[in-house]
Symmetry: C2
Subunit: 355 residues, 2 copies
């Protein structure tokens, strides 16, 4: 089954599992504000996204099973909760009011504040407060995927260990990224380390949680792990490219945010390490400015193009692509052919994606 | 053993368990900023607080054991992580820069920003960002208390279910409190419901987690649960009284914050329900103002005193005190005498506390 066939078959089931968790909460509370809060969280979760993490968990489980079953769908949504929870907090940190073309979670409550004409707290503070708690709730609700399902307790404890471990990695990735804004002389190796934590780890753990529930032998987990981490790395590299050179109409995200925030993307690091001293100093000066004009953003992009960073970043992604492909090759004959197809197709989708 | 004997014996052990969890993290990371981050979290956790939640967990476990052992100390710190994590996020939400007479966690990173002269991000945003992630980290690190210990897996899964459940209750309590600022005609019943979630639930769950590890029979859990919830309720009622009429020098917290923020404390609700129409309208007008002067704060306090709210709140606390005491009485003969003493002493400490 290719990637889009997998989406077609499993996305409705994944959404049902998410609904189940939220509907239980909505039903359990009497307070009108809490009902509105959980409903908004549910809507935010269902509003969009390709559900790549649950799909990977399901596909890995299926890959090792002679007979498929849907028991894996419920625990597969755990990492989707973690992912969305971290997006909710990220959007507050980055002051991004929109996500997937719709209002960010905290921004929904800024709007709620305006509709209800609440006077005592400023609208922005109100939105951020509910957003902080919203992320917290979602992080924890993800645990329900492992606490209330039809698998044995030892498998659930292992899954929670992965969940806790990956949460730590994700936080560390975000922290290193924040710190990197103020660091000099970074190498591409530092960047790869950061995105492995920020993006690679959760993709990897979604796969390993699927493998855990299928009781996959440790010797195969190494290949799965490499595939997952690399898929995440490729995803982040193309995210960086699209964040500066993508088409807003296709990506649904405003471009140039990374340049404005001085984020150490692969584009910036490659440019630093390719340009001559004079041009590097010029780039450095532009990036370090607390406020940057549109003309200056354009200058940065011209320096990027001069350093041919799109190609060097695509080459970088290709190294990880080859390694991921080799890992799947090693699993051929061990896992079901229909999931070989899924893993390969997803890999090709990620390296070619325009959105 | 009375409360202070328990503190003397177990607080160093509790602190060691907290250190163990953080030191493992500090050791595992190479990045200098991450090392600073985990060290700051560790220091924040160890800086103060009576460690009431771990103590209650330990005492409950000990209460049902013929022979005491220290196995319970490690899992007892889980709810302390949850508690501190929620304080970290609360302080961002409430814009409180100090806690226990020391800088709040997010404020420590605002100071870090100033020391390191970071230019790209404003100091306040930097502090809040690290604070949001800091709370997230701490929430999750608490899970390690249940994932890596010497108890059986089924007991650990039960403990994690309590942890997830109480986290949900805590979030709901905070959300209801935020929403109550904009609600009218509240009864003391609404207040009790809110503080049961915000404060009572975590005290209760700390106890139930201790009971879980001691495999306590369900019939005794009801009494433990009532004791815990009521202890939390009494704690919050006296917190409200001290927050407006306490001595800053003793509590270490600035007074009048609740009045300024329009928080629906028991004082305010009792005053609303006691004062005549004219005075109630006057109080309402003062509380609803987005900004309130020192003179107006004083007016509010005078209206509180006119309504004799300190006494009515003390009477309210006393109802919960009696019920908690009865629950302990029911356990006499079942649990060890030294823990009967602990539970009773703690209850008396909480109802009489000045800080």
């Amino acid at each position: 089954m290719n990637f889009s066939e997998y989406i077609k078959l499993y996305k409705p089931k994944i959404n049902d599992a998410i609904k189940l968790i939220y509907d239980k909460k909505i039903k359990s509370v009497k307070n009108a504000f809490l009902k509105a809060y959980y409903s908004e969280l549910r809507e935010y979760f269902l509003a969009g996204g390709k559900k790549i993490r649950p799909l990977l968990c399901i596909a890995t489980y299926n890959a090792f099973k002679k007979k498929k079953d849907d028991k894996i769908v419920f625990p597969s949504v755990g990492t989707e909760f973690l992912h969305n929870a971290s997006l909710i907090h990220d959007d507050i940190i980055d002051k991004d009011n929109f996500r997937r073309g719709k209002p960010a979670f905290h921004y929904r409550f800024r709007q709620y504040h305006e509709i209800h004409d609440l006077k005592k707290i400023p609208a922005e503070d109100f939105g951020n407060s509910i957003g902080i708690i919203g992320g917290d709730s979602a992080f924890f609700l993800g645990l329900e995927a492992y606490l209330y399902n039809n698998f044995k307790q030892d498998l659930n404890v292992n899954a929670i260990q992965y969940y806790e471990e990956v949460f730590k990695e994700l936080c560390e990735g975000v922290l290193i990224e924040i710190d990197m804004v103020n660091q000099q002389n970074l190498k591409i190796h530092d960047y790869i380390e950061m995105i492995s934590l920020k993006t690679g780890a959760l993709i990897e753990k979604s796969i390993l949680i699927g493998a855990n529930y299928a009781r996959v032998d440790d010797k195969y987990k190494t290949y799965l792990s490499t595939y997952g981490k690399n898929l995440g790395i490729i995803f982040q590299i193309s995210d960086d490219i699209l964040g500066t050179f993508g088409d807003e109409k296709i990506t649904g995200k405003p471009v140039n945010g990374d340049i404005r925030e001085g984020k150490k993307t692969c584009l910036l690091i490659e440019a630093y390490n390719t340009l001559n001293d004079k041009k590097r100093a010029q780039l450095n000066k532009l990036i370090k400015m607390p406020e940057i004009t549109d003309i200056e953003v354009k200058e940065v992009k011209e320096l990027f193009l001069e350093a041919d960073v799109i190609n060097s970043c695509k080459n970088l992604a290709d190294t990880y692509y080859q390694e991921a492909k080799m890992s799947i090759d090693k699993l051929k004959g061990v896992i079901n052919q229909s999931e070989v197809e899924f893993f390969e197709d997803l890999l090709n989708f990620v390296i070619k994606r325009k959105f």
